[in-house]
Structures are given as structure tokens and as C-alpha cells.
Amino acid sequence: MTPQPIPPPEPEEEPHFASWALPVSKLKTEDISSEAINLNVNGRRLTGPIQGFGQMWQKTYKVRLPGVSLTPHEIVDVWRKSFGKFWPKENKFYGSVIGIAPGEVAVLNLAGPGGIRGPGDTPFVSTGVLVIYADDVSFSFMTPEGHTFAAMITFSAHEEDGAPVAQVQVLIRASDPLYELGCWLGVVHRMEDAHWHATLTNLAAHFGVQNAKVEQKNRLVDPRVQWSEAKNIWHNAAIRTGLYLMAAPLRWVRQLGKRGGSKS
């Protein structure tokens, strides 16, 4: 019996290659909780700050965690595993069963200005995110068409002056003229800031740091708006969620009709 030649070993993939999601043409949700109102994600393209309409902002929110003896890796590990738990209660994050991992899509059910929600605790906006990147000390999302912001959002932890720091950095443009108007009026930026301040405060409290102060730095990266992207309003998730909720009675009537028809 002749010995079989041993095949050459497969070239090992660089470890950090697995930190990135693969390109996707359209987003698709999988294994999302049935509690979620899952709109404006499936079939949508991913958008980044380049594809948005409004002014481009870079905002950095960070919270120091004095007295916490965890490494940045351990902090990010906890953050990833319980990501939605740290959100303010009026906004809901529905991740897949896999959680925060490259390529995973999550659904967001967000409240409106002042934390308002619709009848029956329905969200003001249903949208989502794709996890584009995740490593030991950071992870990043991008948003689908129709989301308030065409954005890249990075969550990370590092050490600063001997204490761990948890940080959220967003690079955002309002997706369309309506959202940009909301930004100009201050409403949308206030909501965004309040959301990340509450998230970081909750994260700090989880690690035993009460009443943590969140530092925020804003940088206007591009003061211009991109009129070529005004068409994005077609996908506006707030408008589409509103229309979906307004049409709820019609859907109920149709379902009743179907049930009645199937009984006869």
C-alpha cells in the first residue's frame, strides 16, 4: 500500500480577520425575539456616514470607572454579553441568539422625543444595526437605510490615568432631511446624547460606580449637507414605523376576516 501524500496545511487565517463581518448586500435578521417589532431592517442596505444627508459629527462619550479592577477586555466582555441591558428602558435592543458578533443583525425599537412610546408600548422607530467588527476591547455597528443616522458606532474600553474607561464613539450623519431638521432643532441630538449618557451610567453602575459622570466631546467633521442623499427620506424608519402602527386596525380586521373565512 503506497502512503498517501500529506496535503500541505491550509494557510491559517489571520486572527483579526475574524473580527470583521463579511460584506452584505442586504441585511437579514435571524432569531430575533418575537417581542420585537421588526421593521426597516430586512432587505435594507447598510449605510455609513458617507451615505448620510446631514452634517457629519463625531461624538465621544466616555465614563471613568475608578476603583474597578477589571481589564478593558473584561469590561468589553461584560458589555457585549449584556449589551441591551445597559440601554435606557424606553429603548429596546433585540440581538440575535449569538449576540454581539461580526455579521450579526439586531433590531432596535426606539422611543420618541422625551421617551414617548406609542399605544400599547409600541416604539416610535423600529430599525436595526449590523455588527461590523468585534474584538477583545471594542465592537462596532453600522446602521441600515432609514435609521435616524447613517452611522458607525464604536464601543470600547481602555485604561486612562490608571483607571478603566468605557467609551462610545459615534461618527454620524442624519440620514435624510427630516432627521437633519430634527438635529437642527436639537431634538435628535438631545435624544442621541441622552441615550448614550444613560447607557454608560448604567454600565458604570453595573460595575459598582454610582452616579458616574459621562464626559462628552463633539466634533463637527463636515458642516455641509449632502443634497444628493436627500432621497434617503424614502426609507425613513420613523415615517414607516408610524404608517405601520397606524395601519394596525386594518391588519386586525384582515386577520379576523381570514380566521372567519377559514372556519366556514
Binding site: E14, H16, F17, S19, W20, A21, L22, P23, V24, L46, T47, G48, P49, I50, Q51, M56, Q58, I132, Y133, D135, S138, F139, S140, M142, M152, T154, S156, H158, E160, Q169, L171, V221, D222
Partner: protein, 119 residues
């Protein structure tokens, strides 16, 4: 924050083109080096800024954010100036596709191809 693990060197093959050779790891810590390299590469007559990624070892999502920020700076000088990239491995070409940077930055396999296209 950790120290920068990237080095950026600038070449001017012609008065109209500036090449930034990127070596090492492009993360948030590379911001100062990248923006200084851009300032050096971009003088009054520069029409093309070419990012040469052939020495790139690693880039995370903050590194992609830096490229977006640089793109905005270059676009402020549009249509007079534009941003191109070359030397990306297949993996990083995919990442540019994922983040849709490939729609805003001209991507070429080699420096020669990029410079020929910009001429």
C-alpha cells in the same frame, strides 16, 4: 490609550500627487500621524492623495473611521482633490466594500495603476 503603532511616510511623485505609505496598525492611535501626513502630502497643487496600504498589518473599525474623516477633509477640496487607495489585501478590500468606502474612494491594485488613473 496605547501608543501609535503606525508610521506614515509621504512621497511626491509629481506636483499633482501625494502618496502616503501606511505601515503597521491603523487604529484610533494613528489619527495624528495620518492627518499630519495628509497635511504634508497636500500642498497647493495636489490633485490626488493616494493611500498606499501595502504595508498595512492591521486595521480596526476606528481605523476605518479615520479613513472616513480623511475622506471628508479631501472632499472639502473637491473637485480639485480626490482620495485613492492601493495595495489593499483582499481582506481589506472586503472591509472597504462592507463599509461602502469603496463607493467614495477609488481603489486600485497597484500604485502605478492608481497614478495612471489619476493622470
Amino acid at each position: 490609550m496605547s501608543q501609535a503603532k503606525a508610521t506614515m511616510s509621504v512621497r511626491k511623485p509629481s506636483p499633482q500627487a501625494g502618496i502616503i505609505d501606511i505601515q503597521g496598525e491603523v487604529t484610533a492611535t494613528a489619527e495624528t500621524a495620518l492627518m499630519e501626513a495628509y497635511a504634508q502630502a497636500s500642498n497647493g497643487n495636489t490633485r490626488t492623495i493616494l493611500l498606499n496600504f501595502s504595508g498595512l498589518e492591521y486595521m480596526n473599525s476606528s481605523g476605518i473611521g479615520l479613513v472616513v474623516t480623511l475622506l471628508i477633509r479631501v472632499n472639502r477640496h473637491a473637485p480639485r482633490q480626490r482620495l485613492l487607495a492601493c495595495g489593499l489585501s483582499d481582506h481589506y478590500k472586503q472591509i472597504f466594500e462592507l463599509t461602502r468606502l469603496n463607493e467614495a474612494i477609488g481603489i486600485y491594485n497597484t500604485e502605478a495603476e492608481a497614478l495612471a488613473a489619476s493622470a
